[in-house]
């Protein structure tokens, strides 16, 4: 067990969370979270509904800032920089830490414009450069072959699975460092889910992937590192194999063996 953990630490930590607490009004949704997220790996956040895993993920790109009445204490170091520091530019941070949502949410525009939206707002004007980014992003998201002949068509005409991969491509287009996936396959059929899981395994070569999932098999299949949340606490964070085969905590064991949740 220690060997594996060391192996992961050797691969480097990209995000280091220290003493993170979060309140929605009076309700404390995250309680003293401490964890190091490994770089170029897939980290799965698991736990029953309402355990704080999505909330935790959204602290990483500061999407929680948008919710009125949120209070956050603690440090999140991304490549050594505290992202809650006053000097941090939130839009730059979100560019570096991209996000794919639970429900595929392509903009009501063409496929091309969906991908080009991010680069455009970050100042890319040249048509040739945009073409290049669009092609590369769609290729990286393994959807280029399906859409290359209809880039001008509306993104809303695609299937659910295609839309979700388009959203991944859109996130990739701004050259992020980390990709957050919030139950991004929960609304998809098994085949589309399989494609996205396969895609995640490719993406970790270049990016760090952090995913929230309700699907335990998915966590086992694709993740390298796994964090189990319960009632706002991080119960256990281990490499996935260890967490599922030899959980340290009784509650983790109960959850991963399907005794509750």
């Amino acid at each position: 067990m220690t060997d594996d953990t060391e192996g992961i630490i050797l691969s480097g930590t990209i995000v280091s969370v220290k003493g993170l607490n979060l309140w929605y009004g009076d309700h404390q949704a995250l309680k003293n979270i401490n964890v190091d997220i490994p770089q170029n790996q897939i980290t799965a956040l698991i736990g029953p509904s309402g355990c704080g895993k999505s909330t935790f993920m959204k602290t990483l790109n500061r999407m929680n800032d948008l919710i009125p009445g949120v209070k956050i204490k603690g440090d999140i170091l991304y490549r050594g920089q505290n992202i809650y520091d006053a000097s941090v530019n939130v839009t730059d941070l979100r560019k570096k830490i991209g996000m794919v949502f639970q429900k595929a949410n392509p903009f009501p525009m063409s496929i091309y414009d969906n991908i080009a939206y991010g680069p455009r707002i970050h100042g890319v004007r040249s048509r040739a450069k945009l073409d290049e980014i669009v092609e590369k992003s769609l290729k990286d998201a393994a959807i280029w072959d399906e859409v290359k002949d209809r880039l001008k068509a509306s993104a809303l005409g695609m299937s659910g699975g295609q839309q979700q991969r388009l959203c991944i491509a859109r996130a990739l287009a701004v050259q992020p460092d980390i990709i957050l996936m919030d139950e991004s396959t929960s609304a998809l059929d098994p085949i589309s889910t399989g494609k996205i899981e396969e895609l995640c395994l490719q993406l970790k070569e270049k990016y760090t992937v952090i995913m929230v999932t309700h699907n335990m098999q998915q966590a086992v299949r694709v993740s390298d590192f796994c964090c189990f949340f319960l009632l706002g606490e991080l119960i256990e964070a281990e490499d996935t194999k260890t967490l599922f085969s030899m959980p340290r905590d009784k509650r983790t064991e109960d959850y991963v063996t399907g005794r509750f949740g």
Binding site: N105, R170, V174
Partner: protein, 311 residues
């Protein structure tokens, strides 16, 4: 014995059910006919008005000559040698409406974006109530306020003999169409799914970029509908602008006293003799106005629908 009894009872029940069903059918038919009549009433009025306008508008146009009528630049309906050219009215109506849209749409749209996306809830509620009030103010009151406040200000600002000008009318119209623009755009903006905005923010767009590039884009057909409504209200308005525009049949200029198609009809109808060419010419102006509004509606609808298909 028992069996036969049950059968009779069943038959009676079936007959009762049938009767009830027939009753229900009769009721249904009654309501359906009633709805149909209500629907026909609306269509009937549109048809009646259109036919009436055409019948009463054609004779004067025929007599004066369509070219002379539409493109004549001189309107002197009560002169010894009357002249019936309505180009000044047409152009004034077009300029006035365009001016109102140019001023009113950006302000209204910005207000709607602010109310829908950025304003604190309580503050937004106050503004929304004010907008509702603005919509409820009778147009004659707009005219009065314009006459007392706006006209003298325009006069002073530009050192004119009279402040009753196209400019004053444009400003009054712009304010009058604001509630339409704001309310309809607001509904459209409120209906934009939150997921679009979240996706944009998560890509590192600022809130302002998100509102203008995503929210407004997603709501654009609703916003276009708001513009259509605004245009319709501006081009059809008479009462407010008759009081601030000077009501003189000049070719339009921003700082000249002008007369709109609507105000031409309103101001002369009361003294035009029945059956006179003057009165018939006023009906013809009504017909032209009607055709204009139809054309604008059709044009804007085509543009909106065309854009809707594109996405």
């Amino acid at each position: 014995m028992n069996n036969t009894e049950t059968v009779t009872v069943d038959a009676a029940a079936a007959a009762g059910a049938k009767e009830a069903k027939e009753k229900l059918n009769a009721k249904e038919t009654f309501w359906q006919v009633l709805f149909l009549i209500c629907g026909i009433i609306a269509v009937g009025f549109v048809l009646a008005i259109s036919i009436y306008l055409i019948i009463s508008g054609i004779p004067a146009i025929h007599k004066i000559g369509i070219f002379k009528f539409m493109f004549g630049t001189k309107w002197a309906s009560t002169a010894a040698e009357p002249s019936f050219g309505i180009l000044p009215f047409i152009l004034t109506s077009i300029y006035g409406t365009a001016g109102a849209v140019v001023i009113g749409v950006p302000i209204g749209l910005m207000t709607a974006v602010f109310l829908s996306k950025a304003a604190p809830k309580k503050f937004a509620a106050v503004i929304k109530n004010c907008v509702q009030l603005l919509a409820g103010i009778p147009s004659v009151v707009y005219g009065l306020v314009g006459m007392i406040v706006l006209v003298p200000s325009v006069q002073k600002a530009f050192h004119l003999a009279s402040g009753a000008t196209l400019l004053a009318a444009v400003i009054v119209l712009a304010i009058m169409i604001l509630p339409n623009i704001i309310n309809v755009s607001l509904t459209a903006l409120d209906a934009v799914p939150k997921e679009y905005e979240e996706a944009s923010l998560a890509l590192g767009a600022t809130r302002t970029e998100t509102f203008f590039k995503i929210s407004v884009h997603a709501a654009r057909s609703g916003i276009a509908a708001a513009v259509v409504l605004g245009v319709g209200r501006a081009i059809g308005e008479a009462m407010a602008i008759i009081m601030v525009s000077g009501n003189v049949a000049n070719m339009p200029g921003l700082l000249k006293s002008v007369r709109f198609m609507t105000t031409a009809i309103a101001s002369e109808m009361s003294y035009a003799a029945v059956g006179s060419l003057q009165r018939n010419a006023l009906f013809s102006i009504g017909l032209v106005l009607f055709v204009f509004i139809m054309l604008i509606n059709v044009f804007l609808n085509v543009v909106i629908k065309g854009k809707g298909k594109e996405q």
